[in-house]
């Protein structure tokens, strides 16, 4: 079934090249994937990300419920702040990576991936059993637009007039605010500063057109992928899934271990896996020119001299670095270099932490 966002007709009018992304019809690019990538790195670009799942959790017990559901502890945030977390199954396998926002002491918002929509909704409903007063509401009435790039604040702060300038200026990273029926959060998937903006579907087209008049470049999924990979961010179903734990996917930072008394789904399995996981996720950078692709096998000698094999889970050409970059699952004992067979020769890959570019944040 092909689903369309409220901005579908706008993308058609723009002449965007459309693709099917987990049953959603979305632009892969509007004019040039590479130029759209550069627009976000150097100026500001915007993405229609209305395919993502927005879920509101309401009720006096919503915080307690989320403390059980999520690896991150929502008691760490106050209204107006956000956390990046995972939802695990009982085996510590990752069901999804999400951003959770605190809107009030009894209202939270989660933004989850489009690919996991049904799984997450069913999982959340099932585990709400012990919290009967909590309401879980799917917000399909909202569209989502991501405005990202070093000039995001510059281009956006005046959209509601002078009286609101200060609100934009003082909004820090990983925070959120509501102005009328617009929800702004300073989060993103590109490594640049910017906003993810939720608004009623009926207002999406006018707002999108208004942002275009401000000189904001429309960008598609193609640029979104090269941007997130340059920033070292995982893509669910590619770099992680329910068969992988946070330890083997560079997601340990989504776990709040303290207080030790906080029970959350997957904690028991996670504690067993901690320090017991032989795999980890690294960034790889091609030393010479070329491109790395998903599924590429890589070889190395680890720090003990033992031969090992890993796999590239996400690979692409980095427009900023002008060479291949990727994320790979490898042995935790890997050294500084790996090799792959590409173009009928052996290519050398540098092993590094997945921060390929200096991100604005």
């Amino acid at each position: 079934m092909n689903k369309k966002t409220a901005l579908y007709e706008e993308h058609i009018i723009s002449g965007a090249f459309l693709v099917n992304f987990y049953n959603w019809i979305l632009p892969l690019y509007y004019s040039s994937q590479i130029n759209e990538h550069y627009a976000v790195r150097k100026d500001v670009g915007m993405f229609d990300i209305s395919h993502m799942t927005i879920i509101d959790i309401e009720g006096a017990q919503s915080g307690i419920y989320l403390r059980y559901l999520l690896t991150k502890d929502v008691f760490q945030i106050i209204p107006g702040k956000a956390l990046y977390s995972t939802i695990l199954n009982e085996n510590a396998g990752i069901i999804d990576d999400v951003v959770v926002y605190s809107l009030s002491s009894s209202l939270f918002r989660i933004i989850a991936n489009a690919s996991t929509r049904d799984r997450v909704i069913n999982w959340m409903s099932h585990h709400k059993m012990n919290y009967p007063t909590v309401k879980v509401k799917l917000r399909d009435d909202l569209s989502l637009i991501a405005v990202q790039g070093p000039n995001s604040l510059l281009k956006l702060h005046h959209i509601f007039g002078k009286d609101y300038h200060y609100l934009f200026k003082k909004l820090e990273r990983f925070c959120c605010m509501e102005i009328n029926d617009f929800f702004f959060s300073t989060t993103g998937y590109t490594g640049e500063i910017g906003y993810e903006i939720a608004l009623p579907n009926c207002k999406a087209i006018d707002f999108w057109r208004h942002l275009k008049t401000l000189g904001i470049e429309t960008c598609g999924l193609g640029a979104r992928n090269t941007l997130r990979l340059e920033a070292g961010m995982n893509l669910y179903n590619q770099d992680m899934d329910e068969h992988t734990s946070p330890f083997s996917t560079n997601m340990s930072h989504t776990i709040s271990w303290y207080p030790a008394s906080r029970k959350f789904i997957g904690r028991t399995a996670l504690e067993k896996l901690k320090d017991n996981t032989d795999e980890k996720m690294v960034g790889i950078l091609m030393v010479s020119e070329g491109v790395v692709r998903n599924g590429l096998k890589i070889y190395y000698r680890d720090i003990y001299g033992k031969e090992g094999e890993g796999i590239v889970t996400s690979g692409t050409f980095s427009p900023t670095l002008k060479r291949g970059i990727g994320l790979a699952r490898v042995s935790r004992y890997i050294g500084n270099f790996a090799y792959a067979k590409l173009y009928n020769r052996e290519v050398c890959l540098k092993v590094m932490a997945p921060n390929f570019i200096h991100c604005s944040d």
Binding site: S32, Q33, I34, G222, T226, E289, G290, V291, R293, T316, F317, P319, K322, G324, Y343
Partner: protein, 130 residues
């Protein structure tokens, strides 16, 4: 659309074009249709000078943002020149697939394979059927 298939060139079924410059010297590249399907080309792996290939061998690779594409040599021959401009500007293949976006020049005495290549009309029929 027919502007994108120069009449004087020969074509392979794998969407390469060949131009006979002089006796035994040919220039080759990929067609407008091929670069359009590939998308923005970000890297080209070129052969080395002096490398020899048989007709149908993969002699170069074009990497676009979304995938890698093997490029096949339509006739047997030896590489005598490669387009070094593609190192800095691989997207020349997208903007000028038949001129500045040429990939390699080869020395070949493979008349048989050359005669089996498609002409303008045959190539046009091929891409219309895709």
């Amino acid at each position: 659309m027919y502007d994108n298939i120069p009449k004087k060139l020969k074509y392979s079924k794998q969407h390469e074009w060949l131009h006979k410059k002089e006796k035994s010297i040919y220039t080759l590249g990929i067609t407008y249709h091929a670069q359009n399907t590939l998308g923005e080309i970000v890297f080209v792996e070129l052969p080395s000078l002096g490398d020899s290939f048989s007709a149908g061998d993969c002699f170069a690779v074009a990497e676009s943002v979304k995938s890698a594409s093997d490029i096949y040599i339509p006739i047997s021959g030896k590489i005598i020149s490669v387009n070094n401009k593609l190192k800095e500007n691989p997207d020349l293949i997208n903007s000028h697939p038949y001129e500045q976006g040429w990939i390699a020049k080869i020395y070949s005495e493979d008349q048989k394979s050359f005669l089996n290549l498609l002409d303008f009309d045959q190539y046009r029929i091929l891409i219309e059927s895709i």
